[in-house]
């Protein structure tokens, strides 16, 4: 990487040779981005919207790759391409079974139509004319945002224009002082470590808010399928406690919907063409074995990304990769296989320990070197595991916080259930109960 020269900053080399081609790629990608964003807004099918959103994330990833920011691309592909759509899919699934209009859902549940209409939640067209007519302030805000984006686009340094001072400074100190070959990482974990520090705790705050939103009334030991275990406990404590018929029916229906209930947990022995729902919690043996192999590969690659992704580097992308592995195992093997780790007691402890480690790491800089986030770890030569000093440790802490935080968010939303017990004793009809804990997604 041509970052050693302190005075003359070379323009990005890819602009030199095949300039027109790359500009074409840039604009093609921007057009595709716009198309995908338009699809997200205009598609009538909610699941299709989420798929378009995922495509948007992937396109954004490609944009980042083209612009020469592979680390951002890594984070974007897992967060924008996988994690965010997953959250939306979960939320849509929850909304359809739990907060849709009661009579409508009942009709749909009983008729068991194979392709359930997914447009029931759309509140009609939300196109530009409607927006102007109904929400003029939203239109003004959109225009302001557009203007800001245009200004930002025009201010992007490209070609022969000089780089901003921040970038020049980062290029000058990255290799000589920090022994980092990746300038972006020097910025993220070195020069502007305080920003990253703040972002980490912003993420922590978001995780906390999701946890608060989705927390059930009683303490729980796992995220999913908890009410089964809880009921047993409840009966032990109070054998005379009887739930109303409405509540029981609702719980039964929900369990049926989720495919839980009595019966074997395996899906391998189902006769062919037997329609859903099935009892099994896990997928077929082919998927399970394949995921087992892939999980080994992906986890190792994720760990490698933490320590060496961008010398050093990708705590954030690697955390997202770990979320991917956990989700894969969860989907293929069922919750019981990840329940040992993915439960509030463990995941939240890990999350807070990671945050604490980061605080200690940065505060030691204040104690030993006189300023917060200053480097106090001895610097190893470039291209080794310990190059970058505190940056590497920060990246590791980031990995812990991000991975556990994302896991908590996804599973908290996944485990968010409607509490079928009515809120107060007077209004005992289930179905009126609107105080359900609904899945909230922060984004």
């Amino acid at each position: 990487m041509p970052v050693t020269s302190p005075t003359a900053v070379p323009a990005p080399s890819r602009r030199h040779g095949a300039e027109p081609v790359f500009w074409a790629v840039d604009y093609l990608l921007l057009a595709l981005l716009l198309t995908a964003a338009f699809l997200v807004i205009r598609l009538r099918n909610l699941n299709a919207c989420v798929m378009a959103l995922s495509a948007l994330g992937l396109l954004l990833t490609v944009v980042f790759v083209v612009l020469g920011a592979p680390d951002v691309a890594h984070a974007e592909v897992v967060v924008g391409g996988v994690a965010l759509p997953t959250l939306f899919l979960i939320a849509i699934g929850k909304a359809r079974t739990e907060v849709a209009e009661p009579e409508q859902t009942n009709l749909e549940e009983t008729s068991q139509s194979p392709a359930r209409s997914s447009t029931s939640l759309r509140t009609g067209g939300t196109g530009a004319p409607d927006l102007l007519r109904h929400r003029p302030h939203a239109a003004v805000l959109s225009l302001l945002l557009l203007a800001a984006l245009v200004v930002a686009m025009l201010a992007i340094p490209r070609g022969a224009r000089p780089l901003p001072g921040m970038a020049r400074h980062a290029i000058q100190v990255a290799l000589p002082q920090w022994h980092l070959t990746e300038v972006v990482n020097e910025v993220v974990y070195g020069t502007r470590a305080f920003d990253t520090f703040g972002e980490t705790f912003l993420l922590l705050a978001a995780v906390l808010s999701v946890v608060v939103l989705t927390r059930p009334r009683e303490p729980r030991s796992g995220y999913v399928g908890e009410d089964v275990a809880g009921r047993q406990e409840q009966l032990e404590i109070d054998p005379h406690l009887r739930s109303g018929p409405d509540e029981r029916q609702a719980r039964e229906a929900e369990r049926e919907e989720e495919g839980l209930g009595r019966g074997p947990l395996t899906t391998d022995a189902q006769p062919f063409a037997k329609p859903f729902p099935e009892r099994g919690e896990e997928m077929t043996v082919v998927v399970r074995m394949g995921v087992r192999v892939v999980a080994v590969l992906l986890t190792t690659a994720g760990c490698f990304l933490v320590v060496q992704g961008y010398t050093p580097g990708g705590g954030f992308p690697a955390g997202a990769v770990l979320l991917g592995v956990v989700l894969l195992i969860y989907v293929a093997h069922g919750y019981h296989r990840v329940a040992a780790v993915v439960r509030p007691a463990v995941a939240e402890t890990i999350e807070l320990l990671g945050a604490l480690a980061i605080i200690v790491l940065q505060s030691l800089g204040l104690l030993l070197r006189g300023s917060f986030t200053a480097n106090w770890v001895p610097l190893a030569p470039a291209r080794t595991l310990r190059s970058g000093g505190i940056a590497q440790a920060f990246s590791l802490g980031e990995f812990v916080v991000v991975s556990s935080g994302l896991v908590i968010v996804v599973f908290a939303v996944l485990g968010a259930t409607r509490d079928w017990t009515s809120d107060d004793d007077s209004a005992d009809s289930a179905g009126q109960d609107r105080t359900a804990h609904e899945g909230g997604d922060e984004s």
Binding site: Q112, P271, F272, A273, V287
Partner: protein
């Protein structure tokens, strides 16, 4: 020489990706479309990774990562196809009109004492077969 091989591999990959995309549009039903999506992985993505391996040499970070990505794609493509097809079929999405055989459904119907005739699988209470042979 190496450049020629890389260019050829890239062309193959991009060409088959294009073909698979076309297939997704042209195929008549979801079951046949899944074949196209697997094609996109097998002869669409893998040659591109191999091009990177050839271009950078297998004993390099690029080469190693590409080989591992190859494995990932080659395992994931059939897996996702399988999971998707299974869910679709058990979700009672019918085959297209030109399909020649549908043995599982024939078998289900045969076991079902010929209760329901007609081509479309009926919705409603699903027949509970005891297929054991």
């Amino acid at each position: 020489m190496r450049l020629v091989v890389v260019a050829a591999l890239l062309t193959i990959g991009v060409g088959f990706s294009l073909t698979a995309g076309l297939g997704l549009i042209r195929m008549p039903d979801v079951y046949t479309r899944v074949h196209s999506s697997t094609l996109a992985a097998v002869l669409g993505a893998v040659p591109v990774f191999l091009a990177l391996v050839v271009g950078k040499g297998p004993i390099s970070r690029y080469g190693g990562e590409s080989l591992l990505a190859c494995i990932l794609v080659l395992v994931f493509a059939p897996l996702s196809a399988h999971a998707l097809l299974r869910a679709t079929y058990r979700g009672r999405v019918p085959l297209w009109s030109g399909a020649k055989v549908d043995q599982p459904r024939d078998r289900l119907r045969g076991k079902d004492s010929g209760a329901d005739a007609g081509d479309e699988p009926d919705s409603g209470a699903g027949p509970e077969p005891q297929a054991r042979g």
